[in-house]
Symmetry: C2
Subunit: 316 residues, 2 copies
Amino acid sequence: MNLPTFEDIQQAHLRIKKHIHQTPVLSSTGINDIAGIPVLFKCENFQKVGAFKYRGATNAVLTLPDKDAEKGVATHSSGNHAAALALAARNKGIKCFVAMPHTAPKPKIEAVRYYGAEITFCEPTLQSREDTLKTIMNDTGAVMVHPFDNFHVICGQGTATKELLEEINDLEILLVPVGGGGLLSGSAIAAKSVNPRIEVIGCEPANADDAYRSFRSGTIHPSLNPKTIADGLLTSLSDLTFTIIRNYVDEILTVSEESIIQAMQLVWRRMKIIIEPSSAVPLAVVLENKSKFAGKKAGIIISGGNVDLTNLPFHL
Amino acid sequence: MNLPTFEDIQQAHLRIKKHIHQTPVLSSTGINDIAGIPVLFKCENFQKVGAFKYRGATNAVLTLPDKDAEKGVATHSSGNHAAALALAARNKGIKCFVAMPHTAPKPKIEAVRYYGAEITFCEPTLQSREDTLKTIMNDTGAVMVHPFDNFHVICGQGTATKELLEEINDLEILLVPVGGGGLLSGSAIAAKSVNPRIEVIGCEPANADDAYRSFRSGTIHPSLNPKTIADGLLTSLSDLTFTIIRNYVDEILTVSEESIIQAMQLVWRRMKIIIEPSSAVPLAVVLENKSKFAGKKAGIIISGGNVDLTNLPFHL
């Protein structure tokens, strides 16, 4: 198995730098007071398409050999990766094909279409998504770009942590949400390579704790009927991300749905920035484990800001 | 009448600089595409207490003679000014007294209390607020700091535009929301002093168009039963702000409630930042007057981000 190194992430950064936003690192004295420690937020909600996914998708598109690229790229996704891949492809001047369940939220369908992808609708099952994607690829010759089980995608995602550590050079803990593990993999390689003493913690909803169980047991557990508001964290790890996570990540911690909602609200209220529920999971971990983190300086990757504004989880 | 000059704003800036956040200037290619022009947002929603009001309140508190300051400061307000004055007073180590209608939204009462002010509740009428404030001042000797009819408050508010123009030196239009006119006054003095060719436009809800009518007629019109979602823009101008606005502002434009809500939504969706309805009024003006502004580069002061998250105005 070919595992990315920090050098691969450095090269990815050089490659994508002029295409991405170098997102700001923000903090809030109010949140620091509540957490009891300084917490620095790397704001990928301000990234293009509103999520870190644009880093990985751009790196994947830009590393394609020309003869593969000319046929276009394809994926099945109902989320940020499809929008990210669509925009990355448009900027490269190639086509993007997306298999999407017809049940996907309308704003997500519109985003993918807005960035210029051709959508083929399918049933909301993994089988139907994979079959539809296979048909698309056979018909068009497009290359599949997986949302996380992809060397170049992982390298691209790692550039967010590289930027964070270049700006804040004394972090002691890095907290990253984990779904399929692309962001956590890239972040962990970057963090441990810059400073092996940084504690890297994967953050997961207790209601979708497949990574936690996989990490503990040493074998991949599938995500079974995950029911969480953190809709970006439903997927299971792949062999590639699981291997990287076992090599580089110190711990995976889980949090309740109530904690996620409270953390999300806290960021909205105190920082005046819009984050999606998945992005609130690491802050929820900090707030549920105050004594564990006491005296340390923490960094959090805010993964994205794409949230349905008509269906907010606030019950005050 | 003693009118502030740009030199007063420069001195205010030196005075308050280490107490305030130098807020970022953000933009969005998506919004630029929709507006047809580049629009730069000075993000005072990220200011302390979540609003530009902290600039003026801090300057007012720091310019008080010691023998006045030691008795504390007082105001009647149900909004951001009271929270701003409370925090400015706490940082100076003096007391802050606030007369607040007992009908004020709970989050606003909590914010003022959180920053350490002593609240006296009154009836939700101007008469009761003024009477209660007078009693407080008689009892305590505290000095009144008016939310906008105050030389030093206006100078403090002008520092946001000073910062904006130091960062973006080729703005051709500056759009600022207008309620009592403190922010517009300070902004207009700063903008016209830095570059007299910058067009300064006050932006007001059509449903609270007292500044528009005052500006047109040349005499102050009171705000009569204003009904707008832009709850920071309900008040009327004072002699002081009206005089400054007549001297320095080019035009006041009004917009519909629907435009305000659309503009607010657009900022939330595209920029992933939380702004209050009053802050959306200038972007609504840009979007309602595209041909008027074609070919120009516009700056907008985002006045604040304090919004009731449980009562959003989105109807999608």
